[in-house]
């Protein structure tokens, strides 16, 4: 891996305090193509936890360099809060708090209507009930005394979206947190292309019965809000896009973050990857990010605790003490890594030399045997000398022999 380096960003906050935000970039030379701004500082959630994670997620896509701007505290003077939206390709809203000044609101409306990108993350759609244009950007919102005057309820039923403008009632609530399935309702949208139709999201809140103007709204995915868990018994929108003038908004209700502990909803590869793609689409109107191998499956969660796939070094370090019965996550990470980097060329050659170094190191026998199995599928002649050494050792001889046999035997029709 390339050496990481620290790039300090200096941001002036309203109060004049200098906030140092560190930016961990994997590639020191290449500049990320797009600029993103995260707006935070007031929220009924732990924004101090979520905003740095959002920053990592965006940076880890290798598409964005990210600034964070922190608003004044609640009830403080907002008059100096004037982010320069137009410096950015996408503005990510992790903000649910006091009203912005008329000047700042107008600047934001102009930024979006003239083609700016926006990501509305989780409780951002709780914010600004009284700001009509903002609600047009998020499409649907909740809480803040929203009711039938704010717009229809929308849910999916029998193959179509139901737009319910007649039923009165408050907009926005949720049942108990749980892991739940997300179901694609638009499989051709660039953000959704190639994703499983149904995938398991990690433990999260599920916003239910949101309401809003819902103009120019495309609902990409829904989730079943189960009444047994205090939900609405409806298929509720969870991923959406909205257009506002020339601007594009990606709206995710996922990613609840509260307290100091880990946030499983934000570690979910489904949350991370749809956020990355959503931000790319909001910024550019296109999506280039390929679906990761370990995207959650129909009924299987998948997490990136580092908010990115692990490096080979990290995977091998995690694998060092593997014994049967331990978690197989590290084994699966290794398998996925090898597959992704198998190119019968230089990329795989580097992977294989790392694997061979591991085989000659001090890792557990079971970890080595697992790597021998992988080499039995992907290994090349270059692996043979090390495998032959392992074949001489009692505890690795069988798996080494299996790898040697597969590498050296051409399958024929005999």
């Amino acid at each position: 891996m390339t050496k990481k380096y620290i790039k300090p960003l200096i941001l002036l906050t309203l109060t004049g305090v200098i906030l140092l935000v560190t930016s961990c970039k994997q590639a020191p030379v290449s500049q990320a193509p797009y600029q993103a701004l995260i707006i935070t500082g007031q929220n009924n959630h732990t924004w101090q936890g979520s905003s740095p994670i959002l920053k990592k997620i965006l940076e880890n896509s290798d598409l964005f360099s990210v600034d964070i701007i922190q608003s004044p505290e609640a009830k403080a003077d907002m008059s100096g809060f004037k982010p320069v939206f137009s410096n950015y390709d996408v503005v990510v809203l992790d903000y649910n708090g006091d009203a912005w000044t008329a000047e700042t609101k107008k600047a934001f409306e102009e930024y979006v209507s003239q083609g700016g990108g926006v990501v509305s993350y989780h409780a951002a759609d709780n914010s600004f009930r009284d700001w009509k244009e903002y609600n047009k950007m998020t499409g649907l919102g909740g809480w803040g005394n929203r009711n039938e005057t704010d717009g229809p309820f929308i849910h999916w039923k029998d193959g179509a979206f139901i737009r319910d403008s007649t039923t009165p009632g408050i907009g926005g609530y949720h049942g108990a947190q749980q892991a739940y399935q997300v179901t694609a309702r638009d499989t051709v949208h660039p953000i959704m292309k190639g994703l499983p139709t149904v995938w398991k999201h990690a433990k999260d809140e599920l916003y239910s019965q949101l309401r809003g103007p819902a103009e120019n709204l495309t609902i990409l995915a829904t989730a079943w809000s189960d009444s047994a868990k205090g939900g609405s018994n409806r298929n509720e929108p969870v991923l959406m896009t909205v257009t506002y003038g020339k601007g594009r908004i990606f709206h995710t209700v996922l990613g609840h973050a509260m307290g100091d502990s880990a946030y499983p909803s934000m570690e979910c590869v489904g949350f991370i990857f749809t956020l990355q793609r959503g931000a790319e689409w909001a910024a550019t109107g296109q999506v280039t990010l390929p679906v990761p191998d370990d995207f959650p499956h129909f009924n299987t969660e998948s997490k990136w605790p580092q908010f990115r796939p692990l490096t080979l070094d990290e995977i091998l370090a995690n694998l060092k003490d593997y014994h049967p019965g331990d978690t197989r996550t590290n084994l699966q990470d290794l398998t996925n890594y090898i597959r992704k980097n198998y190119d019968s060329g230089e990329k795989y050659a580097r992977v294989e030399s790392e694997l061979l170094r591991f085989l000659e190191g001090t890792g557990s026998i079971d970890a080595k045997n697992y790597i021998c199995r992988e080499l039995s599928i992907f290994g090349t002649d270059k692996a043979l000398p090390v495998l032959k050494k392992l074949q001489k050792k009692e505890e690795t001889k069988e798996m080494a022999r299996m790898a040697i046999e597969r590498i050296t035997t051409q399958y024929t029709n005999e």
Partner: protein, 446 residues
């Protein structure tokens, strides 16, 4: 245990002889009809079938499936069960008690090693109900011993092993029935005849729902091998590992022995899908898809899988764990004029119920009829005709699933030549067509 020698078994009281079977080879050569000694019990208390007309059978692999199969055969008056083989003494004791109990005797013979079974026993037919890693070695040894075979599905653990079984069965001219018993159920047969005769029009897509995998996350610490279990022999050609309590039944969740629910059930629902489409003796040209492998515990077979197989006629089969499919378990063919869905429990549905009333005329394609899967083998042992699920057909259902397994394990789209049975231009994926055996195990003749 002490094994009876052939001489001991040839005591004068053991009269009768092996049923006269003309083993006219399908391929080459004709097998001898060997004289055989039937134990005294064969005189038969019910006396319905003369001893000389009975089909003498043995069992290799006396776990739950093998025991069930044996009882099904033993319920036929024409069958004489004489011996069983298992690496676990608990199984041997139970199976001996079952056979002796059935005949009211005490002379059922048991073996712990199939080689001793084959050296001492010369039954007409044998039931094979083994963990998959053993299928090819023992099936080929039995075929070479000229025994007719009722073999449990899936046919083999790898495609290469399946090919070798087919070759041995053809070379020796033995009769093979696969445990794909759904073929002998009327509603599966009916569904397939409706589909193959175009009652839903041209079929372009078929969904096959197989059971969901359930990863067990309980710990499996190394533990003493239970008394009476020959663990090394149970493993056979699979890698040597310490005993962790994963043996009978739970072997199905470890890739060294099985491909999990996918390969377990391919011989049922993929087989039925093939049957209804006339694809039972060929295979796909491309297989791709993905699986989810457990992240906890020691089991490593996929717990979710989602695979597509494309056939030369551009038909696509989607096979996946059933929770991902609209019709759930079973087979659903989609034709230009409707769909038909069939599953166990006499479940047969169509887009329009009138489709299910359709008559199939005598001039149309009529599929093989069997209303009793076990009787079908016995009938074919006598007639020397092909069973309803010969190994050539079973080989094609499991091959499709195994290509899916290779696609999942390599993360690659597999191009397949169903005629030469080779993966095209992919030496890495081709490695998984066979599996190195632990020394000293190998297939007879290879």
């Amino acid at each position: 245990m002490k094994h009876k020698t052939y001489t001991e078994m040839s005591e004068p009281k053991r009269i009768g002889r092996r049923i006269f079977v003309r083993k006219v080879a399908v391929g080459t050569g004709a097998a001898m009809a060997l004289p055989y000694i039937i134990p005294s019990s064969a005189m038969g208390r019910d006396g319905k079938v003369a001893p000389s007309d009975r089909i003498v059978m043995g069992l290799i692999g006396a776990g739950s499936q093998g025991t069930g199969d044996m009882h099904n055969f033993m319920s036929k008056p024409e069958v004489q069960m004489v011996a069983a083989c298992d690496v676990d003494k608990t199984h041997r004791d139970a199976i001996k008690a079952a056979i002796d109990g059935k005949y009211g005797t005490s002379d059922a013979r048991t073996y712990s090693d199939y080689r001793e079974f084959l050296a001492n026993e010369k039954p007409d037919a044998v039931i094979l109900a083994l963990p998959d890693q053993w299928h090819a070695i023992i099936a080929i040894a039995c075929a070479n011993a000229k025994l007719d075979i009722y073999g449990e599905k899936p046919l083999s653990r790898t495609i290469w092993e399946g090919k070798k079984i087919v070759e041995a069965v053809e070379k020796n001219g033995v009769i093979w029935q696969t445990g794909s018993w759904q073929r002998s159920e009327a509603h599966f047969h009916r569904a397939c005849e409706l589909v193959i005769n175009g009652r839903i029009g041209k079929v372009r897509f078929v969904e096959v729902g197989l059971p969901n995998g359930n990863p067990a996350t309980i710990s499996h610490p190394v533990q003493p091998v239970p008394e009476g279990l020959d663990w090394d022999m149970w493993l056979g050609p699979a890698p040597s590992v310490p005993y962790r309590g994963v043996c009978h039944w739970d072997w199905r969740w470890i890739l060294d022995y099985s491909g999990g629910q996918l390969t377990d059930w391919a011989g049922h629902h993929i087989d039925i899908a093939h049957w209804g489409l006339g694809l039972e003796r060929t295979g796909p040209v491309e297989v791709s898809g993905s699986g989810v492998f457990p992240r906890e515990g020691i089991f490593d077979v996929p717990v979710e899988y989602s695979l597509h197989a494309t056939y030369a006629n551009e038909l696509v089969m989607y096979f996946a764990n059933e929770r991902q499919l609209p019709h759930g378990m079973g087979v659903c063919w989609y034709g230009d004029n409707g769909w038909i869905h069939v599953d166990r429990g006499n479940r047969l549905f169509a887009s329009d119920p009138k489709i299910l009333e359709e008559k199939i005329g005598d001039n149309e394609t009529r599929l093989y009829v069997s209303n009793d899967h076990f009787q079908n083998l016995l009938d074919c042992v006598r007639s020397r005709k092909e069973t309803i699920t010969p190994c050539q057909v079973a080989h094609r259902s499991i091959s499709t699933a195994l290509l899916g397994e290779i696609a999942m394990l390599t993360g690659r789209k597999i191009q397949w030549n169903p005629d030469t049975q080779e993966i095209i231009n992919d030496p890495v994926a081709s490695r998984l067509l066979r599996r190195p055996f632990r020394s000293p195990w190998k297939l007879e003749g290879n």
